[in-house]
């Protein structure tokens, strides 16, 4: 190779991409050392989840020029994580994932700072999330994705022409895997479809009808679910079943075996029992590595503009040959989450209490136990008790007064909504208009008068 003196640098390889001008690039690409340094100094990334994807993401991002990372995860390390969550060792079992993952990456990559948060995502207030330039999701739950998506979309503001304002856009990159399959997607709220726009991509899980379990079991899974959903409650009145208690699991297994023998049904094993009861999704290192790498690369491209970005959904399937496919999904123009916000028209006399009651009956929202925020300040909080007490007196005040007597404003509400018999935490953005103020007449404001 040619004899050229090269200044040794840690970012030897990344510099080629960030310091040199390119021909196929994204918006606002401004190559140079400053870009590299700004990426390290000013770009804060939140990684949601420190599991199979999260471990990979932290490593990939830390080796892609990001130096200010935070990670949030409520779980502790289990033995079954060790076949893929490469930042964890056997001695770490029982410790919080976020903390161990952050520590391990910082130990190996100097100059990188990772702040762990060992808690539920709903425990953080919205301000926490507003602090990041980009949020990368490594989750295995639809509910959690949906929640973070709503948080990111809640920051989005629209101008008077209902065009999203770029500076309020909080990009999301989302990954997911199951066995040999996975996806990576980029969500630019207001521009590309948000999680809720394409919620049909994640159909709800099919459950067995109870009458099948009780009367006409045919498969091993039916016998297991009978023991789990029917027999347990019959025998243990009042005692909650704990899937993580091996004694409980063994009981379910034994009952399922008995039932299977009774009906002549083959195939009940302990492993299958665990799989059915805990709804275990098979997971391997390679697929997590592929999906996380794609997500980290997109995060780098979005924040620096060093190349084009994925538009907007990548699917990967390695089971039968190798298939990757990019699909350009379109936004749902009427999306409640990434759209300009649900329009609510009120009399100026409506109190906060009445407003909260109204949310429960609103057909698009059906939101109960609402906590209400306006421009970052809490108008009413359901929890914790100390905040509830502090904000309780607001309930009897007119919302119009609480919002500073302006004709319109954006309100964020969090609460629960029931879908398919399960309660989920949701966050909604509402555009509130008051009648008869500032010459704005009744139904005239939908287009943003």
């Amino acid at each position: 190779m040619a004899e050229t003196v090269v200044q040794p640098s840690r970012s030897r390889d990344l510099d080629k991409l960030l310091l040199r001008p390119g021909n196929i690039i994204g918006n606002n690409f401004d190559p140079g050392q400053e870009l590299r340094d700004d990426l390290a100094e000013y770009v804060k990334v939140l990684v949601v989840g420190a599991g199979g994807l999260g471990c990979e993401l932290l490593k990939d991002l830390a080796l892609s020029g990001f130096k200010k990372l935070e990670v949030i995860d409520m779980d502790t390390i289990e033995v079954t994580n060790l076949n893929r969550q490469f930042l964890f060792r056997f001695e770490d079992v029982g410790k919080p994932k976020a903390e161990v993952a952050a520590k391990r990456v910082m130990e190996r990559i100097s100059g990188v700072n990772i702040k762990p948060h060992y808690c539920r995502i709903e425990e953080k207030d919205i301000d926490f999330y507003s602090d990041f330039s980009i949020i990368v999701l490594g989750l295995d739950s639809i509910e959690a994705r949906s929640y973070i998506n709503a948080v990111a979309c809640s920051f989005l503001e629209y101008d008077s022409d209902d065009k999203p304002r770029d500076e309020t856009m909080k990009p999301l990159v989302d990954g997911g895997t199951e066995g040999f399959k996975g996806h990576a997607r980029v969500i630019m709220p207001g521009v590309t479809p948000c999680f809720e726009c394409t919620i049909w991509l994640f159909p709800p899980q099919v459950k067995f009808p109870l009458c099948t379990l009780a009367e006409t079991p045919r498969t091993a899974a039916h016998c297991i679910e009978y023991a789990h959903l029917i027999k347990w409650d019959e025998v243990h009145s009042g005692k909650t079943f704990d899937p993580d208690d091996p004694e409980h699991m063994k009981w379910i297994y034994n009952e399922a075996v008995k039932r299977a023998e009774l009906f002549g049904i083959p195939g009940v094993t302990y492993s299958l029992t665990q799989g059915v009861v805990k709804n275990i999704i098979p997971a391997i290192a390679s697929t997590n590595a592929i999906v996380s790498a794609a997500c980290a690369l997109e995060a780098l491209k979005i924040t620096t503009g060093c190349s084009k970005t994925l538009s907007n959904y990548l699917t990967y399937n390695g089971a039968e040959g190798l298939h990757t496919k990019v699909t350009e999904f379109v936004r749902d123009k009427d999306c409640l989450v990434c759209g300009p916000g649900v329009l609510i028209e009120l009399e100026t006399s409506v109190t906060l209490q009445k407003f909260i009651d109204l949310l429960e009956k609103h057909p698009d929202l059906l939101l109960s136990k609402a906590s209400v925020t306006h421009q970052g300040s809490s108008l009413y909080m359901q929890a914790p008790p100390v905040l509830e007490e502090m904000t309780r007196s607001n309930l009897n005040l007119p919302l119009f007064d609480l919002m500073g007597k302006t004709s319109r404003g954006t309100i964020h509400v969090t609460g629960t909504t029931s879908k398919n018999d399960t309660k989920t935490s949701v966050l909604r953005k509402l555009r509130v208009f008051f009648k008869g103020v500032d010459g704005v007449t009744d139904m005239d404001m939908a287009g943003g008068a």
Binding site: M1, A2, V6, P8, S9, R10, S11, R12, D13, L14, K16, L17, R20, G22, N23, I24, E56, D60, L63, S64, T80, L82, N83, R84, R89, F90, R108, I109, S110, F180, A184, T216, R218, H222, F263, S271, Q274, I280, P282, A283, I284, A285, S286, A289, I290, A293, A294, L297, L300, S307, K308, T309, L310, S311, N317, G318, E320, G321, L322, T324
Partner: protein, 524 residues
């Protein structure tokens, strides 16, 4: 030490104890342990492969800390192979990890027999001439070879071996084998034993759709001169008949029957894919034949004799609305037939083994049983040698990719340019854009090199975009971590499929397109 069954639970649910045992027996050799190689092995060590040997002759430099998680500051100046190996060992103490501080290129040149000790070689960041030589060595020694390379925002993965046969291909969606339009005597008489008209509504609603469809198909055949519904109108009519019965009853089983009626319309006999395997010259077996082909020979005999044109029955049925009793009885009938088919095939396998001078018991019952259960899903993958692909790629394919302006144009451009940069490096002793300065000259030299390459390949008229050539020079042979992790992820997944002999490995050359993710497999 964790109970291995628990530690590997999430992957055992994918490839089972047998797949895991195959992994634990495998010995893997890695050539070059930059990020691409290190990430590939990381995923394999976590999964519990038997042993790894890391081969790299270089020392860790500061720049390596920026793209490889397996080395840290304390490693600078030390053997890269040693440092990477030590970190990999930390991930799983069940894996035997060792390293050799040596340049792979030197080993390929001076010690070709070295590679025959391994199950599989993962060769990363090799240039074309070394790839050709290593490929020859590994094919000769029957060692599985997989190439992986990261290069800026692109890269490739390529499997190379003569032949890979798969019994447990585990496809996602595969039509179950219920023989609704071709029931064997026991199934037929079971269906006949149920008189739908004499049943009370509750029993009728709990009659499995398999029975409904067999009866319906038979009725149809009787009234239509022996043929099944084949035209669109006939198929519609068939479904209407079912619907008419359902309306009176409102049973889920009829709904399922309507949804499954396409299974009645499906042609009898075997698929063209399976026919192709039966026609393969390897199905003419001799003493050198593998167990797989011996079993294929037995399968071929079965299909044209006892099978009456059908493959052996799998024996499992999907869940369907039914009373427990009818379902369990039905399942037993399918299983009994599958067992009977298996016994015939087993006998044929033993006879063939004897005929070709092998121990008739050399293939186990379990192996034959699994073969029978998967007979309709067999896969045979063959890979062209690297030398053939390089010297005479399949021209119509190449031209097709080159003229496809939409999806694959960037990917095929990267394919050509990844080859062009190796030619460039052979001529100019460095990769285009590898060092700062002289970029314009490198761009024009790479362009000339690429044009020359295209013309050597017989694609004279084709051109690559200036943009892509510029980008390749900008990449300057960098190994970006995220790209390496992606390429390494793909490579490790293919290794797992090859070693477990489950699922289907990718064909051709995978070209990664890190610009917009429109990656592509090129079959050249």
């Amino acid at each position: 030490m964790a109970e291995p069954k628990t530690k590997y639970d999430r992957q055992l649910r994918i490839w089972g104890d047998q797949g895991q045992a195959a992994l634990e027996k495998a010995s893997i050799c890695l050539l070059n342990c930059g990020p691409t190689g290190s990430e590939t092995l990381k995923n394999l060590v976590l999964g519990g492969v038997g042993s790894i040997t890391v081969i790299d002759g270089s020392k860790v430099e500061l720049g390596d800390l920026g793209n490889n998680f397996m080395v840290d500051e304390s490693c600078v100046g030390q053997s890269k192979a040693k440092c990477v190996c030590a970190f990999l060992q930390e991930l799983n103490d069940a894996v035997k990890a060792k390293f050799i501080e040596e340049y792979p290129v030197t080993l390929i040149e001076t010690n070709p027999s070295f590679f025959s000790q391994f199950t599989l070689v993962v060769a990363t960041q090799l240039m074309e001439d070394s790839m050709v030589k290593l490929d020859r060595i590994c094919r000769e020694a029957n060692v599985i070879l997989i190439f992986a390379r990261s290069y800026g925002l692109t890269g490739l993965v390529r499997i190379s071996l003569k032949e890979h046969t798969v019994v447990e291909s585990k496809p996602d969606h595969f039509l179950d084998d219920l023989r609704l339009n071709n029931p064997w005597p026991e199934l037929k008489s079971f269906a006949e034993s149920i008189d739908l008209d004499a049943q009370d509504p509750v029993a009728l609603r709990h009659t499995p759709y398999v029975v409904l469809l067999i009866k319906m198909a038979e009725q149809w055949v009787k009234s239509h001169g022996g043929s099944l519904p084949s035209t669109r109108e006939e198929k519609k009519e068939f479904k209407e008949l079912l619907k008419a019965r359902m309306v009176a009853l409102d049973g889920d089983n009829y709904k399922e029957a309507i949804e499954a009626s396409f299974k009645v319309f499906a042609p009898r006999g075997i698929s063209s894919d399976l026919q192709q395997i039966l026609n393969d010259s390897c199905a003419e077996v001799d003493s050198n034949s593998s167990d797989f082909w011996v079993m294929v020979a037995a399968l071929k005999e079965f299909i044209s004799n006892e099978g009456g044109g059908e493959a052996p029955l799998e024996g499992s049925i999907p869940d369907m609305t039914s009373s427990t009793e009818l379902y369990v009885n039905l399942q037993n009938i399918y299983q009994a037939k599958a067992e009977a088919d298996f016994l015939v095939i087993e006998q044929r396998v033993r006879n063939i083994l004897k005929k070709i001078g092998k121990d008739p018991l050399s293939i186990s019952k379990t192996t034959i049983k699994s073969f029978c259960r998967n007979a309709r899903k067999l896969k045979v993958c063959r890979y062209r040698s690297i030398e053939n692909e390089i010297n005479s790629p399949i021209l119509p394919e190449l031209q097709k990719y080159l003229t496809d302006e939409d999806y694959s144009s960037t990917a095929v451009g990267f394919y050509i340019l990844l080859r062009a940069v190796d030619r460039f490096a052979a001529n100019y002793n460095s990769f285009p854009g590898q060092f700062d300065g002289g970029m314009d000259e490198d761009i024009s030299r790479l362009k000339t090199t690429a044009v020359g390459l295209l013309s050597d390949l017989g694609c004279n008229g084709s051109t690559l975009t200036e943009d892509l050539i510029n980008e390749i020079c900008r990449f300057g042979a960098s190994e970006l971590h995220a790209v390496s992790a992606f390429i390494g992820g793909i490579a490790s997944q293919e290794v797992i499929k090859l070693i477990t002999r489950q699922f289907v490995p990718m064909p051709g050359t995978f070209i990664f397109n890190g610009i917009d993710h429109k990656s592509q497999i090129l079959s050249l």
